[in-house]
Point group: C2
Chain length 210, copies 2
């Protein structure tokens, strides 16, 4: 079977529980997955660490990376750059790990265009009410923020059908296992195992003549 890792993009509504889900997936299957760390030109917030939440770099460094095509994708939000360094991703894929990028739909589609083998996963709560309840339940957001999150979710939902799989985040445990099963199943796709297919075809032709 194929031994190279799969590039995976995980997107989903803010409040769908992506963060917790990723953490638990990596926790349970540490040897199978690697989480890509983005580079950004924004200032680190309190508690954030270089190389853990982000690689915090200068605008000049970032633009040099763009020029040298050292980023798989990048975008600019509110005067700050965010992007996915290519080197770490390729290294981990070659080690046979499935590499997860947690990015938004625009970035996801750019990655898929560049690397058609990319697996796009969309994490969604079971329904819109559920999403709103979770945001309200956090108790840390003002109603204004919640309304703007819901608006954003409505926008993001427009691209859902571009994704390969839909992961419903109902119970964490089931959701982690579903995600793992989907990714492991993808390793068995014929299109990801052309080397095996070529080999067995050649072997069968060889044995036929014996």
């Amino acid at each position: 079977m194929n031994t190279k890792g799969i590039l995976i993009v995980v997107s989903g509504f803010s409040g769908a529980g992506k963060g917790t889900l990723m953490k638990e997936l990596l926790n349970r299957y540490e040897e199978r997955y690697a989480l890509s760390i983005s580079a950004t030109t924004r200032q680190p917030r309190e508690g954030e660490e270089h190389g853990r939440e982000y690689f915090f770099i200068s605008k000049e460094e970032f633009e040099k990376m763009i020029a040298k095509e050292e980023l798989i994708e990048y975008a600019k939000y509110v005067e700050n750059y965010y992007g996915t360094p290519r080197k770490y991703v390729e290294q981990k894929l070659n080690e046979g790990k499935d590499v997860i990028l947690e990015i938004e739909i625009q970035g996801a589609l750019k990655v898929k265009e560049k690397f058609p083998d990319t697996l796009l996963l969309f994490v969604s709560p079971p329904g819109a009410e559920e999403l709103k309840n979770r945001l309200v339940g956090r108790g840390t957001e003002t109603m204004d923020v919640i309304e703007s999150r819901m608006s954003r979710a409505a926008e993001e939902a427009e691209g859902m059908e571009e994704y390969d799989y839909l992961i419903i985040n109902d119970t964490l445990d089931e959701c982690v296992e579903q995600m793992h099963a989907v990714i492991q199943g993808e390793h068995l796709r014929c299109s990801r195992n052309t080397a095996f297919i070529e080999r067995i075809k050649k072997e069968l032709k060889g044995l036929k003549g014996e």
Copy 2:
């Protein structure tokens, strides 16, 4: 999530262990799967039962089924018809069961053309030597039969890349679980969950205005 079953075609080299695999899959997950039973005009062999191995019907009955489009696919081998009755398959799919057809590549491609949502699985041993060893190991086949099986396998291998997934039948237990995971993962495909996607989009638009 979608509740309709998935139509699954399982093919693979004779000697790859498809029969045992299917039996074990249905044994473990009886409530999830249904195995389609083919209709044929050939005579029952000793120990075969109408409605278990095949539906044994007359040539006239079979041709009537063809004319009424009551077969999903059919083929003629050595003067005998073999085909998949549509009614049973549709009934089980509507009950939410994943229905498995065990047919060869020509039939598989015909089914996929008619029902593009069909999932095509190809079961293969880890290598050609392994396949030959298994056939020899059975001890029930003459070397002539084994040679002709190997020739047939070389022909069948030509179509392997048309399948969606490759299931390597190394150890039975692992293989059954892989097949189950692949099929269950397919239920999460965005293309199989358009109703859910439409619903959450509508809900999010509704809540936005609240």
